[in-house]
Symmetry: C3
Subunit: 325 residues, 3 copies
């Protein structure tokens, strides 16, 4: 167990050691048990978290804000458009100033090629921890909640197979961040990770190398596949969600055409039957029903989506309690 996490940023857990992650999970499950028992845990009394959103949110905002209240503190919900950022406040100024008013700064900024750098620039100027609520590259708190959920459902994760797959979607092009944080984090717990996507929907190049390296050190494995059905074969976890291709945003029509080429990449009962008998279905929500996933699957007994959503609360409370104390 690590006891010196005060002041640490959570930009991605790639920057945390496995020991530190184990401490975080231990605290998360302990806070979850407390809540089940109605035991108060005011660990952040009078502490303030600034939550800065450049992108809409349901689960993330509600879980961070409720979590801070349950810890005895207060989270400010700040939409970037209500601020004077458009009038010239720089990331350095945001970091310096919010860092002096608060005990932590959480940021969601998903613009491709911009969001992660923005968060790092704020962190460089801030005297308090900076928490990444999703950027263009990472979504660490989703991955943390997902590890919690897999652990609850599967027990020891070592040697278990998890399929992180692209899926079809009709609406806007989603960030790569959930898939990237997952393929980086899961092999560190000894899982065999299959990343499945059409050739055009690659993740960022450095992620492949890092995931392979993590698998090596974590005694897991990492393989890349482009056959959706093959990805389901005997897996213990199906985690299939859409993401966009990395191309210029001016090519939106072309990108949509590309997406439509793979309109049969939907998780349906036939495909779930290819997986291990006790396999679970996961999705960070919101899902496109009938497009990314069939209703029978997301609403069925193998679905773990609401536990995933709930674990956002407990995982984030642990991260806040450890870093902002």
């Amino acid at each position: 167990m690590q006891t010196h996490l005060q002041g640490r940023d959570v930009i991605d857990f790639q920057e945390w050691t496995k020991d530190e992650l184990d401490t975080l999970l231990d605290v998360a499950f302990s806070l979850k048990r407390d809540r089940a028992l109605g035991r108060r845990h005011p660990l952040l009394e009078d502490k303030v978290l600034a939550m800065l959103f450049f992108f809409s949110s349901t689960r993330t905002r509600a879980s961070f804000e409720a979590g801070m209240a349950q810890l005895g503190g207060h989270a400010m919900f700040i939409e970037s458009k209500t601020t004077q950022i458009a009038h010239g406040d720089t990331p350095k100024e945001i970091g310096e100033i919010l860092g002096r008013y608060t005990d932590g700064i959480a940021i969601r900024h998903c613009d491709f090629g911009v969001g992660n750098q923005y968060i790092r620039d704020v962190a460089a100027a801030s005297r308090v921890p900076v928490l990444n609520m999703q950027c263009d590259v990472y979504h660490p708190h989703q991955a943390l909640a997902d590890v919690m959920t897999m652990t609850e459902r599967l027990g020891d994760l070592r040697g278990k197979t998890v399929t992180v797959s692209w899926a079809y979607a009709k609406s806007y092009l989603k960030p790569l961040s959930v898939a990237q944080s997952l393929v980086l984090l899961l092999p560190r717990f000894g899982m065999n990770v299959r990343l499945v996507h059409p050739p055009e929907f690659r993740l960022m190049p450095e992620v492949y190398e890092q995931a392979k390296d993590n698998a090596h050190h974590g005694h897991g494995s990492f393989e890349v596949m482009d056959d959706f059905d093959a990805g389901f074969k005997d897996t213990h976890v199906v985690y299939a969600k859409s993401w966009g291709a990395m191309m210029s945003t001016t090519d939106e029509a072309q990108e949509n055409a590309l997406v439509d080429k793979y309109s049969d990449w939907i998780t349906d009962p036939r495909r779930m039957a290819l997986a291990d008998e006790e396999a679970i279905y996961m999705h960070p929500l919101p899902a496109e029903r009938g497009v990314e996933v069939a209703d029978e699957v997301i609403d069925g007994p193998q679905s773990a989506v609401f536990d995933q959503a709930e674990n956002r609360l407990h995982g984030q409370k642990a991260a806040m309690a450890l870093t902002m104390a």
Copy 2:
């Protein structure tokens, strides 16, 4: 007094027994007295209320949020447009997920034919109480505040006459919910309820039967009139506000023409003089001055509008303290 209200929804008080309502009023007046004395009452320490708004608000949001803070808890102000509801979050998902993060979910959704069903769908999926902050059908917390105000001004409500009337308005078409919750609730306290409206501005059909039935069981009375002046005659309470006609929203021009037919339905001093000498004037605000009501009336000594607004706070605190404990 009823002591098992934990976990109960407040969709409309039509679904609460008279005994339960008496308990609620007793707690509301007790919390109001505490506040007058500066006595703290942290009954919901560390508890969180999610407030989800599909419609703008002044009093409702401020009174729920201030009320939770005074009870030691925290209320999250969530505008639906800042969430991923547009990206596919269903009412079931909202209920499941917010129900796991919080201790109560309050919703304002006034779209005709949609709002009440949305609230019921969230409630069906939620493990915590759901509070209706106004829908297309009901506005229970306004009616509760109004019963408190009438009780403070008139004492025992049995045998008192209250006039719930339509009034002229120029701006947008307002929901039916205030009038409907009032004509359902007031006869249960033994009041003689006059519902006054032009023939084209009927409430929903089932409300007439329910109000009559409530009057029978509550030893009050319920009558429907279409003569505005006659409605004022000797009444103890004038509660006149505008609402829209139940027709397709595509007929907006036609609906406006209909409203303009009754442009003289304004509460003015001449009409107030027809009422009982000590009659009070009530309105949930905001009122259209010079259109729904004359300044001399709303600003005059018979007006109880600010006490009504204040009682929103105390009544809602009682509802939250009893259901979310």
Copy 3:
């Protein structure tokens, strides 16, 4: 020290005595020291502040909201556009109603010729203190933070020279309020105040008389200059920021042309060299970099801009703790 400040409004400190200001500063520095030591100070437990914004904000909203949380209370962030003000809520109704729900009302309303009157109308109807978070005329909490910062940097302010100057800016036309609150407040601390602006960018006429009168009573001085360079000569504090001209808003093109006439009014290293060797540079932020001020100055060792921003928190906490207790 003054001990009866409960219930007092902060519309501008022009309406507070020098003794009262000294008390406020004393409390502000004491709360700042507490925070440095991690000492809790829950002086406003269960108290609620309504913050009503008609204009965007970064520092003001975050510092008031974080400050209330640190004092054990809760601040509600209310954007006017999310309320029913557009549906007819009057300032009187806002004052009456929010005054019954909360323990304080803070308002930012910068529309020229409107904002200050709105705040005064709310205050007249409110039973709780009203705090001005910036209007068209005053920005008292910025001026308070600035006096704190100057005191920290310069020690005793008596006999020190401060230059409050107009500066060039390309973006929207900024309120006069910061400059006006400064030239009113600073001479009361015995400072020699130079107000520097082009002839077309005058402050409101009454401010000149009041500032002169304040200088007389405060044993400071007040002079008006129109030569930017001369304003820097041997000064101890350079406080140069842009503001708009007082003309009809329909003349926007004409006003922009006027502004562009003075495009060389930028605080740069050459000009800073004219000032006292240990002079500090101040700006309330956000600044237009390369337009109002050169990067070398605002990012350099003479810049006090982040301490200014931080002192917003401590000064406002003192004002809230004294008036809302």
